[in-house]
Amino acid sequence: MTQSIETAKKRKGILGGLALVAVAIGLYWSLAIAPPDAYQGEVQRIMYLHLPSILTAYLSYFLVFVGSGMYLWKREKRDDLLAHAAAELGVLFTALTIIEGSIWGKPTWGVWWTWDARLTLTAILLLIYAGYLMLRSLIDDENRAASAAAILGIIGFLDIPLIHMSVYWWRTLHQPPSILRPDKAPWENVHPAMLTALTISFVAFLLLYFYLLSLRYRVGEMRHEIKALRVERGA
């Protein structure tokens, strides 16, 4: 029993180490090798944070969806543990995405915040999954909390395309299309070093994400075992 725990720990350690290496390489490439953008200058480098962050967040929410669905179907605790861990990480990466977007916006548009489609959507995403976490923490019975959260996880995910559509329509119907969006870089003349920086950053974020996810999952798993042991002793 303890041997498999040791192997698991070692594997996590390797993953963490890999993540660290990837992050370091990614940082070097993003900040030193990739050239500054023709229009936005150095500030455009924030894109190497922003795109990986938002994609990691979306991946997270997809995992919440899958975990929630599997849990409702098979009632295996590990699916619920996955959903919970993914939701927590999703909230973290979404919050970071918003902060990055805001910081990128200040020199680009002159304001710290704007209600454009992208930022607004990210903020809504944050609200939905923060609500998920709140729901979990406010229901005392663990099984009920898991079921309720699973339903919310599914409904939330299904709603996202609808929210996407409505916010985009709202923001583009009467806005002039000349609003510059940070990720609409001129792809025709993209420097290969930029693409490399972006790719490495993606990989780095993914590795980081899965490392943190495995840690968080294990914490949840142990907590569950503790509860089970306590119930046994109490009975």
Partner: protein
């Protein structure tokens, strides 16, 4: 007993209970009207601006009023363990979902039927002929609200701080409905017909259809939690 019959019976029970005491209905009605007054004092709008803000103000008033109704939705079942009794019977959970949704829908529609003309009078609006179209939009929006609201109301049944948690989880999910309803109404008031707002209308209908289906399928799990 099929789905529709079960729904009808459950709905009839709720309606009869409500008819006798009218707790929810009256509270919602007075709250909606109260909000109109509060808005009037808060916003202090010149007459030409009121028509612009009317859809938003109305819909906000209904959102908050509806949330009140949702909090009450399973109240009768919570007392005396009626919910457990219902669940022990071979009841189709989808029927319970439909019954509760339609019940809340009826309450809200009754309130809206009174509050909208009241709003028109209090704020001196003139476009009375557009009310039917506006009401169609509000109907579709209210359906969306009641569908998701019933699910969330059931989900948060055993949570602490339920009155705060319910709007917290519900409102972000309602954003498509809020946007679609208000934009649609604005378009109608501005142009006198749907025109460009047709896509918003389609979105609303899509939203309603999707979540009614999801609700019926998923309510087994909702109510068990």
């Amino acid at each position: 007993m099929d789905l529709l019959t079960q729904t009808y019976l459950l709905l009839r029970k709720d309606l009869l209970l409500e008819l006798r005491r009218r707790d929810s209905l009256l509270t919602m009605f007075f709250f909606g009207t109260l909000l109109l007054f509060v808005f009037h004092f808060s916003f202090d709008l010149p007459p030409d601006k009121v028509a612009e803000m009317a859809p938003a103000l109305l819909w906000l008033a209904f959102l908050f009023t509806g949330t009140l109704g949702l909090a009450q939705l399973f109240q009768a079942e919570r007392e005396n363990h009626c919910l457990d009794a219902l669940l022990l019977s071979p009841l189709d959970r989808g029927a319970l979902f439909l019954a509760k949704t339609i019940f809340n829908l009826i309450l809200m529609l009754l309130v809206e039927l009174v509050v909208i003309p009241l709003f028109w009078i209090l704020f001196n609006l003139s476009a009375w002929n557009l009310l039917p179209q506006l009401f169609l939009v509000i109907l579709l929006g209210t359906i969306g609200f009641c569908v998701l609201g019933t699910i969330m109301s059931a989900l948060t049944l055993r949570a602490r701080a339920r009155e705060l948690l319910l709007p917290l989880v519900l409102f972000p999910l309602m954003i498509p409905v809020i946007l679609a309803t208000i934009r649609c109404m604005e378009s109608v008031l501005r142009n006198g017909e749907f025109g460009e707002a047709l896509s918003w209308l389609k979105l609303l209908v899509g939203f309603d259809v999707i979540f009614i289906t999801v609700g019926i399928l998923i309510f087994d799990w909702v109510i068990e939690s």
